[in-house]
Each structure stands twice: as structure tokens, then as C-alpha cells.
């Protein structure tokens, strides 16, 4: 990241704290060890001083939790030092430490949690617990400037439609089995074109979709407001094994149809939730938010209902340290801190169980 980016918090923060503070946030719930530093001016302005993210890329297969956590440990010192250098700060000048305590992979979260507990107790700085999913939503809201959007959160580990209501984010629809990013990763891995899953900002599934042109109907499973992708995965894999082995164009057709079906399902449930919640804007967050085709579909859908649509830019849509630092800051100015001895890792910390005081 070059230079610092400055944003306005899209709501009125409480006047409890009128001083300038800096928060260092640590993210390590999955494949990324990230360190972000934000500065708050005591009013409504927040600057992102640093955002350093070191990704674990598996040589084969998917994320191996132990391997990922070892990689995080190796990267942690450098990431923290780089972030401090970017921000031009010394660790002692940081006001407080924020950390993502869940949801995610236990061994990975523990790396960030251990470092954060140490920094907090060694340096006597407040420790702030952050929910990873809430952080994705908050950084998206900050960067887009949307104060009360319908949020579509899609990544390798999550697929859910959220909207703020009475001090929490309510889940208006979610996957009943595997997340969308996982569907794409598993399919491309099984047919032998990944890893790497993402090359130059494009997913392997987008690349193989370019080989095809024809649409093949695949299982479309929407149950009420929830989604199910496991049947779609099985059907697409069976088809690929039967017909796509030798014929590259046919394999392309299957990729294209899989992507088309999965995205249509997601946009349909988002559309339902939009009509139920009557929100005036849609915000896409999470690792899949940078997908061009998904963005195009959401733009079209938002246009049909006359609502604003924004996707989170790549730097802040994938897992990153800045989102933890910023959400930690919001938590801190609303009085949410934790004792280092009680900062437990919560692998299955559901987003709708988190109290979010700034949401109406």
C-alpha cells in the first residue's frame, strides 16, 4: 500500500472519546496473516496507515490448517514490522491492539490471538476482540460510504445475506452446506485446473468459463431464502468427469454453467432479501467481491430495483488486517474490550450473535 487512505465513518460515533488514537489489528482466521493500522482523529475521520497481508498458498489441495498456521507464525514478525514501518510508528505509540477471534480455522486464529494477547499484556495496551465477519462488513461500509446497506458476504468460508437491525447483523439467508468460494475452489481442484485458485485477480473457474459458450441446466437449489451448493457441485463434477475429460469446450460449458447457476442463486436470494428488508443499497463484501461477473449481475439487479450497488475493492474485500484494526477501533469507542486472559478463540462465532452497538 502506498500512502494513507482517509475515510469518513458512515455514521455518528459516540462522543465518548475525542482524542486521536491508533489501533493495530491482526487477522489470521484463514489463509491470510494480516496486520493493519488505523488512525482515528477523534471525530468521524479514519485513516488507514498500513495494511500488510501475507497469504498462505497451498502447493496442492486446499488449506491445511496446520500448515497455514505454521506459515502465519513464520510471517507474523515481518508483517507486524512492515506495518509499523508503513505507518511510521513504533509499537509503543500504538494505542490498542485488535484481533480477530473468530470465526475461522482454530489453529490459524490461535496464532493471531496469541500474538495479540502478548502485545496487549506486555505493553499494557487495551485488547479488542473482533468478529471476522463483522469486520468484512464494516470495512466495506467505510470504503463505500454506505451507512445501512443489504450486505452480501461471499468468500471461501462464508456465503450469507446480512442486514443491520437493532444492534446486530441479522442473517436473511445463507448457505445450508458449502460456501460459494469453497464450491468454486473444490470444483476447479477436482477437475485439475487448480491450485493456484486465483491468478491475476481471476479465479480458475473464470478462466475455464472462457473456453465454453453453451449453457447446461444444473441443479438450482434455493430453499426459502437459503442456498444449497453441494448438489450443484456433485452434478457439475459428474458431468465434467463424464464429458469434459477430452473436450475442452465442453468442460468450458460446464464451468460457465456452474458459475452462472451459482451466481443466479445468490443474486436471487439477495433480491428476495432486498425486497423484504427494503434497504436502499447493496454492498458486496468478502473474497469473491472482486469477481467481475458477479459484480455485473449485481449491478443489473440493483438497476432493476433502483438501488445503489457497491462492491468492496480488492485490497479490502479479501481477508486483511486493516478491517480488523478499523472494526477494533469501532468496538473500542463503543467500550468493547477484553482481558487478555479471557480472549478465547471462537471458531464458530456466528455473526448474528455479535452485539454491534452502532447498528440501528
Amino acid at each position: 500500500m502506498s500512502g494513507s487512505l482517509s475515510y469518513i465513518i458512515p455514521f455518528e460515533p459516540p462522543p465518548l472519546l475525542r482524542e486521536r488514537i491508533t489501533v493495530l489489528g491482526i487477522e489470521s482466521t484463514s489463509h491470510t496473516f494480516g496486520v493493519g493500522i488505523v488512525e482515528y482523529d477523534g471525530g468521524r475521520r479514519v485513516s488507514i496507515l498500513a495494511n500488510v497481508n501475507k497469504r498462505y498458498v497451498p502447493a496442492k489441495g486446499g488449506i491445511h490448517p496446520r500448515e497455514a498456521s505454521i506459515t502465519h507464525m513464520r510471517n507474523s514478525k515481518e508483517a507486524i514490522e512492515e506495518a509499523l514501518a508503513q505507518a511510521g510508528l513504533k509499537i509503543k505509540e500504538i494505542h490498542s491492539i485488535a484481533v480477530a477471534l473468530g470465526p475461522g480455522l482454530g489453529p490459524c486464529i490461535r496464532v493471531g490471538a496469541t500474538i495479540a494477547r502478548f502485545l496487549s499484556s506486555r505493553l499494557g495496551k487495551p485488547l479488542i476482540p473482533v468478529n471476522h465477519a463483522v469486520a468484512h462488513v464494516e470495512i466495506g461500509k467505510l470504503v463505500s460510504g454506505l451507512s445501512d446497506p443489504l450486505v452480501v458476504y461471499v468468500s471461501g468460508g462464508n456465503t450469507m445475506i446480512l442486514a443491520g437491525r437493532e444492534k446486530s447483523y441479522r442473517v436473511y439467508g445463507e448457505t445450508l452446506d458449502i460456501p460459494l468460494g469453497n464450491l468454486f475452489d473444490t470444483f476447479t481442484r477436482e477437475i485439475g485446473i487448480a491450485p493456484p485458485y486465483v491468478v491475476g485477480g481471476k479465479h480458475a473457474l473464470d478462466l475455464c468459463s472462457e473456453w465454453g459458450s453453451e449453457f447446461i441446466p444444473l441443479p438450482y437449489v434455493v430453499k426459502g431464502n437459503d442456498l444449497s451448493f453441494s448438489g450443484l457441485l456433485t452434478a457439475a463434477l459428474q458431468l465434467a468427469r463424464r464429458e469434459g475429460r477430452v473436450d475442452k469446450k465442453r468442460l468450458g460449458d460446464i464451468c460457465l454453467s456452474l458459475r452462472e447457476t451459482a451466481f443466479n442463486m445468490l443474486v436471487e436470494v439477495a433480491e428476495r432479501a432486498l425486497l423484504t428488508t427494503e434497504k436502499k443499497s447493496i454492498l458486496l463484501v468478502g473474497g469473491v467481491a472482486s469477481n467481475t461477473y458477479l459484480n455485473r449481475k449485481f449491478e443489473l439487479m440493483a438497476g432493476e430495483h433502483n438501488v445503489v450497488y457497491k462492491a468492496t475493492p480488492q485490497e479490502f474485500s479479501g481477508d486483511n488486517g486493516a478491517m480488523i484494526a478499523y472494526t477494533g477501533l469501532l468496538n473500542f469507542i463503543h467500550g468493547i474490550v477484553v482481558e487478555p486472559s479471557k480472549a478465547y478463540v471462537r471458531q464458530r462465532w456466528r455473526v448474528d450473535e455479535v452485539e454491534v452497538p452502532w447498528v440501528r
Binding site: 470465526p103 445463507e174 448457505t175 445450508l176 452446506d177 458449502i178 449453457f215 441446466p217 438450482y220 434455493v222 430453499k223 426459502g224 437459503d226 452462472e260 447457476t261 443466479n264 443474486v267 436471487e268 436470494v269 433480491e271 428476495r272 425486497l275 455485473r296 449481475k297 449485481f298 443489473l300 439487479m301 438497476g303 432493476e304 471462537r346 471458531q347 464458530r348 462465532w349 456466528r350 450473535e353
Partner: protein
């Protein structure tokens, strides 16, 4: 036949619903609209499939004696269904106004009708308190079969129960348990495989979509003890 189209009653994710009249009879006109975000070929298949299934399901349920709207006209070129208008209010709108006994009576009847539907190999797919109409005479009508289909898989029936219970719980959390019990009374009486469905429903709630470990343990315990 000419259909006079009146005011828009509802706009869903995939259809627009109007009031209308045909030869002096009040009707509902449901038009499955095209969506620009869908692949054009897919858009056509999708609208055609859902329109056809919806009409077939309604016709089959009417033949079983259930209270559902009667399809009058179907236009498969424009994906339009014209059906009878149900004079009443949505359960979601009246749930907090109705007294305990009346409501339990209503839930027992919903259970009975859903049981008959499942016994006929049909699932609703979007069974919520917003898709049930209550008339002035407290008759129960099931509506909106846009996501319905034919299946002998217990999974689909269990999803219906799960969605219905969840929607009741979000609007009337204090009464949800007794209402579900009333629903089950009607359901057991009309669907012999009810035990399988309830087991599967508990299973669905324990599944994939992550929930806190302690809640997971609690659900597992309940599944073994009940």
C-alpha cells in the same frame, strides 16, 4: 378471454403479482418477469420450469381437497398464471392479533394440509407465515407455490417444516413451541412418515452451517433423548 389487470399487490424476486378480474371474478395475475442478470437461455428455462411446476402443483393439491388458489388461465409464452383471489390476510400480519386457541386451531389445520401435501409427494419450498392466508372465517389457504416441486425425499419435507418453524419463531418467539406442537398434531394425523421428517429437521439444524459448539451439543443431546 380478457383479463383486466388492476393494482400491483406484490413484487417478488422473480415475479410481479397484480389484482385483476376476469368475467367479473376477482383474480390474481402472476407474471414471471425476465431478469437481465440471468443468462438469456437460462432465463427462459427458469421461467418456463417454475411456471409449469407451480400450476401443476396447485392443480394436484386442489384435487387432494386442499385450500389453495385455483389456476384459471396459464400463458406459457409469457409465463403468466391467472388464479382465484383469496380474500383474507397473511398469517404474518394477523399472528399477533389472534388469540391462543384460534391460533392453535389454525396451526393444526396448517399441519394437516402440509401433511396431505407431503403425502402427495409435493413440497412447498418457501413455507413461511407470509405464504399462508387466513380468511375472515378462519379458513387456512396455502399460497405461492413458486419454489415448490415434486419429490419423495424426506429432506424437502423437512426443509418445509424447518422454514415454517423458523418464520413463526421470528414473529412469535414466545408462542413458537406450542404452535409447532399444534402444527405437528395436524401433521402426524395426515402424514404417516412424520417421524422421519422431524428427525431430518433436527439433522438439518445440526448441519454444515456453523453454529456454536454448545448449541450443536445441545441439539445432539435432544436428538438422542427425545
Amino acid at each position: 378471454m380478457n383479463v383486466a389487470i388492476g393494482e400491483k399487490i406484490a413484487e417478488g424476486a422473480e415475479s410481479v403479482v397484480f389484482r385483476g378480474s376476469i368475467m367479473g371474478v376477482d383474480v390474481v395475475v402472476k407474471i414471471r418477469v425476465s431478469r437481465s442478470y440471468r443468462h438469456p437461455e437460462y432465463d427462459r428455462v427458469f421461467r418456463s420450469y417454475r411456471t409449469r411446476t407451480e400450476v401443476r402443483v396447485m392443480a394436484d393439491l386442489l384435487a387432494k381437497g386442499l385450500r389453495v388458489p385455483t389456476p384459471i388461465l396459464v400463458d406459457m409464452e409469457n409465463y403468466v398464471i391467472v388464479m382465484t383471489y383469496i380474500r383474507g390476510r397473511k398469517l404474518s400480519h394477523v399472528i399477533s392479533d389472534l388469540g391462543g386457541e384460534t391460533l392453535e386451531e389454525i396451526y393444526r389445520d396448517i399441519g394437516r394440509q402440509v401433511g396431505v401435501m407431503h403425502a402427495s409427494g409435493i413440497y412447498h419450498g418457501d413455507l413461511t407465515v407470509s405464504n399462508i392466508m387466513i380468511t375472515d372465517r378462519k379458513e387456512v389457504y396455502l399460497i405461492d407455490f413458486g419454489l415448490s416441486g415434486y419429490s419423495r425425499d424426506v429432506e424437502e419435507y423437512a426443509i418445509d417444516l424447518h422454514l415454517f418453524d423458523r418464520s413463526t419463531r421470528s414473529l412469535a418467539p414466545a408462542r413458537a413451541d406450542e404452535l409447532f406442537e399444534a402444527f405437528m398434531k395436524g401433521y402426524q394425523a395426515s402424514f404417516p412418515r412424520y417421524l422421519e421428517v422431524v428427525e431430518r429437521m433436527k439433522d438439518i439444524r445440526r448441519r454444515g452451517r456453523y453454529i456454536e459448539e454448545r448449541l450443536r451439543r445441545k441439539l445432539r443431546r435432544e436428538a438422542y433423548t427425545s
